[in-house]
């Protein structure tokens, strides 16, 4: 698995590269730091860009493929930039029994992407996660780090209406500001 390079622009890679040395400096330069470094990089940029992987490899004296090999082994690491809104649908046991797959399907249909993907406008990304620890509220979705319990297909619709309203509002505010300024 490699990153979809087309999603990451050159400017973005440049901006990422500029911040990496500071992140690296927090960790001893040894093999055992590999995963913590990858986590810190992802924590900052939300994903591991191809350029970042190359830099991590250089820093730790490993090959890029070695770093990819480790990173792809773990579910936590992402190789594509997430959307502005991150949607995670719980596929844990309790949520499965309560119909989590139906919720996931609703998101897939609505966004026209599969889990692990981001919409082309980079507005939304969709992921499946295992048990977020709120099984008593199954089925559960996590939207922008906010856990929503007792999900239903109709709630999926409602969510997007909310996003739409929010977007409209932002647009209006921006316009108002522009016309004022």
């Amino acid at each position: 698995m490699t990153a979809p390079e087309h999603l990451v622009t050159e400017e973005e890679e440049k901006a990422i590269k500029a911040e990496l040395p500071e992140i690296f400096s927090r960790f001893p330069r040894e093999r055992g730091s590999l995963i913590p470094i990858l986590q810190a990089v992802q924590g900052r940029f939300k994903f591991l860009s191809p350029g970042a992987i190359r830099e991590v490899a250089k820093y730790l004296d490993l090959s890029s493929s070695e770093v990819y090999g480790v990173a792809t082994f773990y579910n936590q690491f992402r190789f594509h930039p997430p959307g502005k809104h991150e949607i995670k649908v719980c596929m844990g046991t309790a949520c499965h029994v309560a119909g989590g797959d139906i919720i996931l399907e609703n998101f897939e249909r609505k966004l026209n992407i599969k889990p692990g993907e981001t919409t082309p406008d980079r507005e939304y990304s969709l992921e499946r996660v295992a048990c977020v620890g709120c099984c008593a509220l199954a089925p559960v979705a996590v939207v922008d780090d906010h856990v929503i319990g007792y999900m239903q297909p109709s709630k999926v619709e409602g969510l997007f209406v909310q996003f739409e309203v929010q977007r409209e509002k932002e647009k209006r505010e921006k316009q108002a500001k522009e016309s004022a300024g």
């Binding site: 995963i35 046991t93 048990c131």
Partner: protein, 653 residues
Amino acid sequence: MAKDTKIIETYEKLRGAARKRLEAERAEGIPSIRITMSTCARAAGAEETKKAIEDVLEAQGLNARIISVGCLGHCYAEPLLIIDHPTTGFPPICYYNVDANKAKLICRSYLEDGDPAFEYVLGAMEENDLIPPVTTFPRFSMEQRVVMELCGLIDPWNIDHYLDKDGYSALASALQMEREEIIEIVTKSGLRGRGGAGFPTGKKWKFAFEKSADGKVVICNADEGDPGAYMDRTIIESNPHQLLEGLIICAYAVGADEALVYVRAEYPLAVRTIQHAIEEAREYGLLGENILGSDFSLSVRVFQGSGAFVCGEETALIQSVEGRRGMPQHRPPYPVEKGLWGKPTVVNNVKTLSSVPPIIRRGADWFRSIGTEGSPGTAIFSVVGNVKHPGLVEIAMGTTLRTLIFDICGGIPGKKKFKAVQIGGPSGGCLPEQFLDTPIDFDSLTQAGAMMGSGGMVIMDEDSCMVDVARYFLEFTQKESCGKCTFCRIGTKHLLNILNRITKGEGREEDLETLRQLAEDIKKGSLCGLGKTAPNPVLTSLRYFMDEYEAHVKEKRCPALKCRDLIAYYIDLEKCARGCEACVGSCPVEAIFTTKGRKKAIDQSLCVKCGECMTSCPPEYDAVVKVSPPELAPIIERPPDQQPKRAMDGADS
């Protein structure tokens, strides 16, 4: 080490200072409001509730101290408040399902007018004559809390709260004992590892102790990969210091100078909580150089696991800390001989380590008096699924499944029938009704074909399909197999393919025998516990729910009406109310149309079987019917003027 009164003195000074600070707070006589703020409570709206309380206090000029606590384990009742208003004469009172509005009402009524708002009360937290105490409810009284005793009652972000409850006194006593003495107590207590396998903890420590080496390591395993369990996370979020205390005692006993808490990165709150606790302990001299003035030093750090189930396995976990792919290694050598960076390493689960301080404090015999001969102590389960009072439950080992599910957790909601209980997650199995009287302990569960495993427990009613559940777990283990062993990698893939086929109605009769054969082979041919136990969900369901497999294979029918390829929804025209539109808007794919008789019908070619129409159909009509096999649904022609809008607009944007 000889008896060293200095250690006890240092400890007592710490505790005394902590008590003084809390005492000063209490002396002010202002009410305290404890609010649960664990992940599950937040999901249930605890943040909004807290905000509402802050607002009402501010607006009304009321004086009260808000304390965020962890999880009480009563997830069905979140968010929970415990208000202690000493000047009223009432005991501390627990309120349940407190949303923002209720919170405002309760605060105004109780804090302003001294009326505790009885309609929202769950119970009193202490015995008294005024309000029935929560201890009269089975969900409280039948539990026995050793590890979770303080969870939800103390502020996990304030070490004083733990010290006030004699926290770290076990460490102080341990530091005065000979190392062998501690190991002896733990051995005598009969404590077995709570990470799944149930290995005797004392024995593990002894191995590590006897190994002479330059440095030794203790790792707390909080990877908790079971996709339906969250005990370890909750314990860390609710009382991190008890875990740390156990970890330090273990390190001292085996002679380690380095310790690690391996927490899943998906648990951000737990990560922050344990990091904060480590800093506090360091500040208080309970970690770092010369702990409590003794000559024992220990450094602890947190390592974030990155979400691979197999990394819960101890050798894979160590690989990942070393910066490699988390592949399990051949044992022996066991980690206690050659673990992290080649050093002797003790790996223990969160619950195992959290059991240690009470054992040191109250003795091995006390611990043995709880639970059974072979499995002393308590077990903690996250009981979820089709059950009235889901949440975390800590019970004495040996309690039967029936007591746990029906008496403590309230049984199955609605008028549904119990079908099965899944124990032990992906490594465990599904047990049917005839096993309800099985005592919960390591050996009985293994004998029944399930496993103590991680402590995940999912209760399933008649609407759950056992084939689908087996398929679900297989899908999980198949994805999580690290790929090292052929049997695990390819065998689970085959198993999954067959199960997928069966749930799609494409099963063949010989499949059932193949499943069993393959499952046995995978068990035998795999290196680590993942492969060895992955077939368990399949084997137990084959054993106890053969009739369901047969219905899927022979009749292409899902008796529980769960497998979506084998069911169909239709609308009973007799029951459907003319002109009612309730279901139309609920359908995400515009599959519902109006018939010539102005009733509704479902276009089977578009239906995605999400069941929304069934939910939205008003109960007085109850016209939507689910059937299996799908051929049972009558076919109704969709009139040309009733075509879905999307289809007419062209492609969906």
